[in-house]
């Protein structure tokens, strides 16, 4: 009766269904426990790290945690929802400056400064995001690029507030020296004090990872995926796409914002060129797509692997790693669009679950 050719025969026979495409839902329950175990182990190791490690190692780990925060938060809007954003550097810079200036003008202590940096970025992201998220993917990306650069110019020019190109110097953390007959408890307290920036970044990264798990396993995450898969259909099915996108964008902006503020305090000096540099966006994007965008583990794996590799192997040549990152982006887009996680899934090293 039908005149058009049917795309596929639609007899519903068991044997015709490809068994390998099935996800095995049974053991997915264990995945959650596996993540929890890994998280606890990592938390213990990382909390203990400054007690025994050299300052160099601690700083390196801080950098890894920083990139991890940037990549996981980038992944929510750009991986799950499919709206590639180039705004990371913008929010990193804005957060750095909000945090640094609050400290510079001695308005608050550092912890509130970090939170305020996050809050400020949230608000700005809403203001910027609502009009621009209406645009289609590539145009949104360009708009975010413009936003990041415009932020830099504004910070650079508004020197009465931001000290412009001179940058902002922040007081260096005064390290506590071990006293005589220091007890173990006192040693812990001293370590905690001396590495407070590290612990702040650790906390931030931990929250980002937890939130990634929540996104990846919840219906909210499904809504993001539906926007990526077919935004028109999603809207037609009743999903409030603008609301979902805007809140995801604003929520994700909090993290580079707070990371920027912690970074500012950690290095003690920031200027517009450094904190608004495109390299922050490049790192977020490269590590996430390398690891696998739209997955829980992808940005984490990518951030850890690439940051360690780039810091260790190429620290002699700071510009070489930009070359490597560029090459990685190209290679991933052309040959490995699903990233490392999809590669591992194809070879059955990682389970084929969307909860990965």
């Amino acid at each position: 009766m039908s005149t058009s050719t049917s795309p596929a025969p639609d007899q519903m026979h068991q044997d015709e269904l490809d068994a390998t495409a099935y996800r095995l839902p049974g053991w997915e329950k264990y995945l959650g426990w596996a993540y929890l175990a890994a998280f606890i182990v990592a938390a213990i190791v990382l909390l203990w790290l400054p007690m025994n490690a050299k300052a160099y190692t601690v700083t390196l780990t801080l950098t890894v945690l920083l990139v991890l925060t940037l990549s996981t938060s980038w992944n929510w809007l750009s991986g799950f929802a499919g709206y590639t954003s180039f705004a990371t550097a913008g929010f990193f810079g804005i957060g750095s400056y909000i945090g640094a200036l609050l400290l510079y003008y001695e308005k608050v202590t550092w912890i509130p400064a970090v939170f305020l940096a996050g809050a400020g970025c949230f608000v700005i992201a809403l203001l910027v995001g609502i009009p621009t998220l209406r645009l289609r993917g590539p145009y949104f990306a360009i708009a975010m690029l413009a936003f990041s650069e415009l932020s830099r110019v504004i910070v650079l020019s508004w020197d009465s507030l931001t000290l412009g190109g001179n940058g902002v110097y922040l007081p260096i953390l005064r390290l506590q020296r071990p006293g005589e007959n220091e007890t173990f408890w006192e040693e812990i307290q001293r370590t905690f004090h001396n590495n407070q920036n590290y612990y702040a970044m650790l906390a931030l990264a931990a929250v980002a990872c937890i939130w990634s798990y929540v996104v990846g396993t919840s219906r909210w995450g499904l809504k993001l995926l539906s926007i990526r898969d077919d935004e028109v259909a999603a809207e037609s099915m009743g999903i409030r796409t603008t609301y979902v996108k805007a809140t995801t964008f604003a929520g994700s902006a909090i993290f580079p914002g707070m990371a920027g503020a912690i970074y500012a305090r950690h290095v003690g000096y920031i200027d517009p060129v450094t904190v608004f540099a495109i390299i922050w966006t490049i790192r977020a994007i490269t590590t996430t797509i390398f690891g696998g965008r739209g997955t829980i583990l992808g940005p984490i794996v990518g951030a850890v692997v690439l940051t360690l590799v780039s810091e260790k192997v190429w620290e002699q040549d700071p510009n070489l790693y930009q070359v490597i990152y560029g090459a990685i982006i190209i290679l991933v887009v052309l040959f490995m669009p699903g990233g490392l996680t999809s590669l591992l899934q194809r070879y059955n090293i990682l389970p084929r679950s969307r909860r990965i």
């Binding site: 009766m1 039908s2 005149t3 058009s4 050719t5 049917s6 795309p7 596929a8 025969p9 639609d10 007899q11 519903m12 068991q14 269904l17 490809d18 495409a21 099935y22 996800r23 839902p25 219906r219 499904l222 809504k223 995926l225 539906s226 990526r228 898969d229 077919d230 028109v232 259909a233 999603a234 809207e235 037609s236 099915m237 009743g238 999903i239 409030r240 796409t241 603008t242 969307r354």
Partner: protein
């Protein structure tokens, strides 16, 4: 020759709606009155404006002029998800499921009630059609007919009072067709209103209680299948004079 206007409940009224795309007048001063609880069909040659009309009703397009009154409210220009939440569901000509999600996820993502409740409802609906074993299959792996069925099921996930079906029988074999017709039957029994468009004339004539005929963006005929079949203008539109 149109049906005499008996005082029936009109759930959707399209009043003099027009839509132009660049140089093309896709919909030209069209008016429709869809009665609650009935199956109404829209037919017309390709390019006659049927799909655009659907898009205008469901909010994917905004009319240049005219009103679209749904349940007493003018919904012209409202966002698609708002219209959907008012109890209007639709399917698409080419199935638009979320490919990287499973069938179960495709069904549960759209509801707002609890995850638990959504999953239970979804499983029940799948069981009704004998599709339970597909529930964890990625939507992109389903056959075309299976996708069509799942799209239909999506409409049952939210309380839809008016269901728009865009060429539901295209490319579908007799077995699947029977299942789709059963589903439509069930909806009508539940008191829902169905508005559909398709090229399968035999089915449309059999299924619909009222038919609108489109040509070049305008409504050229309206009536029972019998009246429409005998209307010379309709023959002209489809076959030329």
């Amino acid at each position: 020759m149109s049906q005499s206007a008996v005082a029936t409940d009109i759930i959707l009224e399209v009043r003099n709606v027009s839509k132009r795309f660049g140089g093309i007048q896709a919909v030209n001063d069209a008016s429709l009155g869809i009665e609650r609880g009935k199956v109404t069909g829209v037919i017309g040659p390709n390019g006659s404006g049927k799909s655009t009309m659907f898009n205008l009703i469901t909010g994917l397009e905004t009319p240049d002029s005219g009103q679209i009154i749904y349940k007493g409210e003018n919904i012209a220009g409202k966002a698609p998800h708002v219209i959907n939440r008012m109890g209007m569901g639709r399917t698409f000509q080419l199935t638009r499921l979320f490919g990287t999600m499973t069938v179960l996820e495709n069904l549960t993502v759209i509801t707002t009630d609890s995850f638990q409740g959504a999953e239970e409802l979804a499983e029940k609906l799948l069981a009704n059609l004998g599709l339970t074993r597909l529930k964890n299959e990625y939507a992109a792996n389903l056959s075309y007919g299976q996708q069509k069925l799942v799209e239909f099921l999506r409409l049952s996930m939210i309380e839809s009072d008016l269901i728009l079906l865009d060429e539901p029988f295209a490319g579908v074999n007799p077995v699947m067709e029977k299942k789709l017709l059963e589903q439509i039957d069930m909806w009508v029994k539940e008191g829902k209103t169905v508005l559909l468009t398709d090229h399968e004339m035999a089915i449309m004539m059999e299924l619909c209680e009222s038919i609108y005929v489109f040509d070049y963006g305008s409504v050229i005929a309206h009536g029972t299948p019998q009246e429409v079949r005998e209307n010379p203008r309709v023959m002209e539109a489809y076959f030329g004079s």
